[in-house]
Amino acid sequence: MRDSILQVRDIHKSFGALKASDGITLDLKPGEIHALIGPNGAGKSTLIKQIAGGLKPDSGSVTFEGHEITGLSTAQRARLGLGRTFQISALPMGYTVLENAVLGAVGQSGSVFRFFKPAMKDPVLLGRARDALQRVGLDGLEDTITAELSHGQRRQLEVAVALTLAPKAFLMDEPMAGMGAEGSKELTGFLRALKTQAPILLVEHDMDAVFALADRISVLVYGKIIATGSVDDIRTNKDVREAYLGEEDTA
Amino acid sequence: MDLLLLIEQILNGLQFGVMLFLMAAGLTLIFGVMGLINLAHGSLFMIGAFAAAAVAGWTGSFLLALIASLAAAAMVGALVEITVIRRLYDREHLDQVLATFALILIFSEGTRWIFGSFPLFLDIPAWLKGTISLPGGIQYSLYRLTIIGIGLVVAVGLFLLISKTRVGMRIRAGENDREMIGALGVDISALYTLVFALGAALAGLSGALVGAIQSVEVGMGEPVLILAFVVIVIGGIGSIKGALAGAILVGLTDTLGRTLLPVIFGAFMEPSAATTVGSALASMLIYILMAGVLIFRPTGLFGRA
């Protein structure tokens, strides 16, 4: 078995009396989609923030490609190759599709403090940006203002921007949310192809997508991972059925 | 340094702080409830002072003057809220700053138009003139002591209003969840007008009280406004408690700094240089205090992280 790309070891995080992360251990292996599911309020977003940056665990560590990243800022983690997409599209809405992709390339290449050469004429940045757009199928919409994109297209652009980072792992927060059935299906296919480039830690509410995509699933309840395993393991796991399906009638 | 003088300066600092509190409380309340930064708060301070000076000159009654300051500032506040401010709640901060800056221009020049460029004077009434003997043989200005008293009464009143009354409950609800309280059937725009008028009245009262110590003139409000901002940054925005603590801290720091720094520098410098350096540094002291708070607690002493 190959080494994990991303490892979360025994993370604790409390807000007052609330234990949002109560000793979470989790890893992401090359080539896999590891889905994180759990009822609302289970502590998924708290966990994601501790992995992506922006929230420091009280104890425990996060390791990425063998480097401890627990103390690093979000931007530093991104530059190391942690690509992230958001539940609610977080894109500069006034920028064109291409500008958004170039922005990703700027961050990745560390060329932020270059003041004179036009970014939109830089062949390296443009090449990287166009490449990413092509991969998600947005290459025909380069000059469209982001605000004018459909919901699904914005999701695709999110992924494209993450791709410009040449990420070594993806962190995706509910990519299916708000997508139509058709869009979901398309995205499912895309993610399945994407995971061979970099593994994906997927937080998702859409159970059909999770069961169709995930190689492994971890179930988070009240800040604890109660089970990790294959789709079948999770389907048949007694604790999961009790804790999870007891609260949400989506079986 | 004379102990009596020191105590007198502490009282002066308290009086200054209390005056800043009246300004900062309104600002912080308006920000907390409506999310609005109001630069024109200094204009309401000025309007209170002018209303008081005009009514005092006309009737000779200081009490009526104070009532006039409250009423005028509250009325102008309500009027401005209904005509202009209301349109700004959903706008970005830049728009709020610019629109309320425009209001400053209009109010300042409008006041100059009506009252002319010469300062007005508001006299301390005979029954508040002179000094009073405090324990320890300290003679202190009765009027300044009254300001401290009024400020503390207002502070207590605000705490009670917000924590105990129905209106206060709605204000707190408005701070936490605007849509919710609208959904519960509270007339949110009336509440906003009320909060704004309340903040305006406090600013007006503050202006009138100070107007009797200083001269009443156009432009008197903005320096106080900026100090009130310093108070809010130090105390933490949206918190009345923070406004009170910040105001007292700023009042004391400024007043004592101006008295003590030249003395301290005098210990190792020649007197004239000590006065120069000391007073120049004293003029910057509260901003340095603010910088310190920004370094160690960017959300202010009582601010929510």
Partner: protein, 328 residues
């Protein structure tokens, strides 16, 4: 509707033609007005970088304007009185050479912006506005209480500073200097806006979280923008002091900060030529309305209120009907 670029060309042409006409018609006062407009425009271009492109609502840019002014005042007053600024540990003398003064103005206001920016950028939103306003006021009070350079009365410089090969006391020549500097700065800022730095700065303004997740250190990005912004406004301050041959604490006052902001709003936020149009309009209004009424600020306030409430995008926005200004 006009393209914004064409509009910008027309504006530049006017900045050449109006003073040229004034020279021909022998109206030196008009040239002085135009010089004021150009200098204010420069101050506005500086603030626009922080406020428009960066989304950093600084209400304290008078600090850099004043810093530039006092850099000029202090250097020139020592040159005027033939006294060194300091003798130990090394000798620093005054100067009346404009290029040296500009350099000092740029460096000192950049350093000041670095200090204030580093502190203010620990906050955001309304806090940022209040903090920058307060720091600006600090320098106002400091210059009033510091007697060495005139205190409250300010400093008069009797002869305008020198520029090699030019007669700076000739209004049109001094205008030329200011105009060329404005054009240079506009050119540089335009390049900056289109550079990776500009793309990141405006991207972070639109969505900070995105900028962070693509690996951009947003805090440092903003601090650098803030420093460049302060330096440009500081240069404008030095020119303004030279125009008036006078500096006083008023240059540090919050009203100046507000006025620099007005230039941007009247012209159009985050548009390259926004502050230029705004400053020119401001001078025009001051001249026309100021001639009609002593209380012209009432009208200015009403206009500003109208623009903020109903005409977002300023003059350039209205004329070019283009929502976003980031493409310059």
């Amino acid at each position: 509707m006009m393209r914004e670029r064409h509009l910008n060309m027309i504006i530049l042409a006017l900045l050449v033609l109006v003073p040229a006409y004034a020279l021909w018609a022998d109206e030196p006062f008009t040239i002085t007005l135009a010089t004021r407009a150009v200098i204010f425009a420069l101050a506005g271009v500086g603030l626009n970088l922080a406020l428009g492109q960066g989304g950093l609502v600084s209400f304290g840019h008078a600090a850099y304007f004043g810093m530039g002014g006092y850099a000029m005042g202090i250097l020139a007053s020592h040159a005027q009185s033939y006294t060194p600024i300091m003798e130990s540990p090394f000798l620093i003398e005054g100067t009346n050479s404009m290029p040296v003064i500009w350099l000092v103005a740029i460096i000192t206001s950049a350093l000041l912006a670095l200090l204030i920016g580093a502190l203010s950028l620990r906050t955001s939103g309304v806090y940022f506005i209040m903090v920058t306003l307060a720091f600006g006021q600090m320098f106002y009070y400091f210059t009033i209480s510091w007697p060495a350079y005139g205190g409250e009365d300010g400093l008069s410089i009797y002869v305008r500073n020198q520029f090699p090969g030019l007669n700076t006391l000739d209004p049109i020549q001094f205008y030329g200097i200011c105009f060329v500097i404005l054009c240079l700065v506009l050119f540089l800022v335009n390049r900056l806006n289109k550079s990776p730095f500009g793309l990141a700065l405006m991207g972070a303004h639109q969505n900070e979280e995105r900028a962070v997740t693509v690996g951009i250190n947003v805090n440092r990005l903003r601090l650098v923008a803030f420093v460049i912004s302060g330096a440009i406004t500081g240069l404008a301050g030095a020119l303004f002091a030279d125009l008036n041959r006078f500096v006083s604490p008023t240059m540090f006052s919050w009203q100046i900060s507000g006025e620099i902001m007005i230039f941007i709003i009247l012209g159009g936020v985050a548009r390259l030529f926004g502050p230029v149009v705004g400053a020119a309009l401001f001078i025009l209004l001051e001249h026309v309305l100021g001639g009609l009424s002593e209380y012209w600020f009432v009208y200015l306030g009403a206009i500003l209120l109208f623009v903020v409430l109903f005409a977002k995008g300023g003059i350039i926005g209205q004329l070019s009907k283009k929502e976003s200004g980031h493409e310059g």
